[in-house]
Symmetry: C2
Amino acid sequence: MREEIVTAALDQFHRRGYHAAAVKDITDAAGVPKGSFYNHFDSKEDLAVVVLERYGASRRLEDLADPGTPPLDRLRAHFAFLRDDVVRHGYQRGCLYGNFGAEIVDHMDTVRDAVRGSFETWAGLVEATLAEAQRTGAIRAGLDPAVTAGFLLNAWEGTLIRARTDRSPAAFEAFLTTVFDTLLAPA
Amino acid sequence: MREEIVTAALDQFHRRGYHAAAVKDITDAAGVPKGSFYNHFDSKEDLAVVVLERYGASRRLEDLADPGTPPLDRLRAHFAFLRDDVVRHGYQRGCLYGNFGAEIVDHMDTVRDAVRGSFETWAGLVEATLAEAQRTGAIRAGLDPAVTAGFLLNAWEGTLIRARTDRSPAAFEAFLTTVFDTLLAPA
């Protein structure tokens, strides 16, 4: 029953947002009695933290560390995978990290800690990929991999917001062109 | 009374989010009876569109077109102004365009149109600034001003999410360093 609640909550939070999805909406979607919710979770906020973990596991971050593919190709494929997921859902949903970051981190410290940790894990993998690409001369020599990794993730989160607002791939194209053809390109 | 509602709604939406701020919270904050709301607005969504206009007027976009300052200096000052506003509010609130873009544009077409229009106006001013900087050789020659302007705004919106999540200026520093020292820097 706990699993069903987490699965329904991921869909509801991702599609509608944290505040728009009430506990009753989530238990209804899960097909469980509302009263059962508090047998499994201390609060909706507690559920949000579990949902973030579940969401993180769906993002194929492990592909960023695949030794069988050149690092710059892995990075391109990573953003293409994330883009395709948004396009397939009709430019809705976006990234749960960014959505929670925009909607609720100011008010909920446990969610804020979970989002921050998610960004750090993700940024660490991108940083390692950039450092590897830099050692092989595939990206610009002078870039700081840690600073650039953070910048890329942040730029990606804003790109998602714009793609959803426009319901268009233009923001994704601007990201990929600007990042891979100019920012990362060896001088 | 309409003005008081708009002022209170801008504060409530910006600080708490669209769904977290109920109409009654807004009318209470404005010091007006809840029943008066629908004398002035057709819906909460209608109010959100008016609030976006009011918010846009506070962002000093006109400074981007100031002929007395070199274009690249204007662009730096613009992002520094926006950053300082977020830091002064304790890394809370962020940008109302991005917040609405993350929380509600998927579900409300009139708000989506208003956010899209706000981004387009802003991007047009940044594009003109970049084109002017490019003509004077102050930025990289090969960049497309329209694509780059879109990318910068999107990157900025994600930067705000990260700065709020971390309650730290690191995301702002990564944005300013990466954009001005590498991306825009003449080759």
